[in-house]
Each structure stands twice: as structure tokens, then as C-alpha cells.
């Protein structure tokens, strides 16, 4: 299938990790959909920015660390990463606090992203 014909899918991470299963399931979805010749992107919005912060250590909670898998996503054909600027600012975070370096976008750009994707999957 040519790159032009590939369907664009955007996963939107909106929940913090560990307190709920949203982040785990969003990550699983990205890993699985990478096998289906889709043009995959992921946007970190609201508490979703907490999914990719550095220094997570959930050993005492006996669950898998979520953030560490995101730098490997390009190997699973996920190549587009976005983070909402206001969500970072509200939480006092900068790109230096994150394990990957997503493209920083504003709310208008996020809305434009939604428009250009065939499917928007919220987690």
C-alpha cells in the first residue's frame, strides 16, 4: 500500500498513567496497530502528558513502567508524536521532563489534527 493511501489514525492520550488503565491500553493499541500499515500518530493532551514524564518507577505498585516503551514506538511504525503546549504549562513541565520529544502544538493545531485523521482514538 502506498504511503499516500495509508489511513491516518490518531491516538489521543488524555489520562495519567497508573491510576487507571487508559495509558496502558492506549500504548497496547499503538503497538498492535503498528502491524496494520496505518499512518499512526499519538497526541498527549491534559493529564496524558504525565504518561511520558521521566523517572517513573512503579516497582512498589508491581506494574510495568509505561513511559519507557514510548521511545521504541518508531520501531512499531509510530512516527508522529504531538504534545499540547497548554497541558505542559499547566503542569509546570517542559520537553526536558519527557522521555520523547513530541512536536509541541497549540489547541488550534490539535483541532486541525483531528480534522485530518480518519479516526481519533481516545485513551
Amino acid at each position: 500500500m502506498s504511503a499516500e493511501a495509508m489511513k491516518k489514525v490518531l491516538v489521543v492520550m488524555r489520562h495519567a498513567p497508573y491510576g487507571t488503565f487508559y495509558a496502558f491500553e492506549g500504548l497496547q493499541t499503538l503497538l498492535i496497530m503498528g502491524a496494520y500499515e496505518l499512518d499512526l500518530g499519538v497526541a498527549f493532551v491534559d493529564d496524558g502528558v504525565y504518561v511520558i514524564t521521566r523517572n517513573q518507577n512503579p516497582k512498589a505498585l508491581q506494574v510495568k513502567q509505561v513511559a519507557q516503551t514510548f521511545p521504541a514506538l518508531p520501531d512499531f511504525e509510530v512516527h508522529r508524536f504531538y504534545v499540547l503546549e497548554d497541558s505542559l504549562k499547566e503542569r509546570g513541565l517542559t520537553l526536558d521532563d519527557l522521555v520523547i520529544q513530541p512536536q509541541v502544538i497549540d489547541r488550534a493545531a490539535l483541532a486541525a489534527l483531528f480534522e485530518e485523521h480518519a479516526a481519533v482514538l481516545p485513551f
Binding site: A16, Y18, D46, D47, Y50, P58, E90, R91, G92
Partner: protein, 97 residues
Amino acid sequence: MLYTVNKSPFASPNLERCLQVAPAGSPILLYEDGVYAAAAGTAFEERLHAALQAHPIYALQSDLEARGLSNLVEGVRVITYEDFVDLVIEHNVVPWL
């Protein structure tokens, strides 16, 4: 009474509502996603700072570590599960779920 909050202050009004009800002096425990309220430098810091004038505020260490939070609002007391048990023995609990 010990008030416990487990939701992020950015995703839920729970902590704000809890603070409106909890009488001055009553301890508040932040756990699970509630610990994000204890992080320094956020838009919620000023609110938590004000709350600390009226309440002892505790945050569960394991939940802070899981989320990579180490730079906390001054005055927040980091506690272990054992300390959590002691608090629950000492106080009746209002779980603000």
C-alpha cells in the same frame, strides 16, 4: 477525620471539593493520581499551598515514585504504606472518591 483523595486535580474537582468541606486541622492524604496535586510548579501549587495553611497534607511515597514526582510543594509530608496504616488507625476516614 482523615480525608483521602485519589484523583488528579487537573482531571477531577475532587480535591477542590474536599478542601471546601474538610474542617481546618483535618489531615488530607493524597494517593494514586491524587499525588499530582503535590507536585511543585503546577497550576495547582498555589491552591495546595493555601490548603497547607489549614491542613496537614500527606502524599503516598509509592505513588509519587511511580509517577516520577520528586519536586514537591513545600510542606507536603511524604509517607509510606506503614504510615498510611497508622493514620487510618488514628483517624476515622472520609474517602473522597
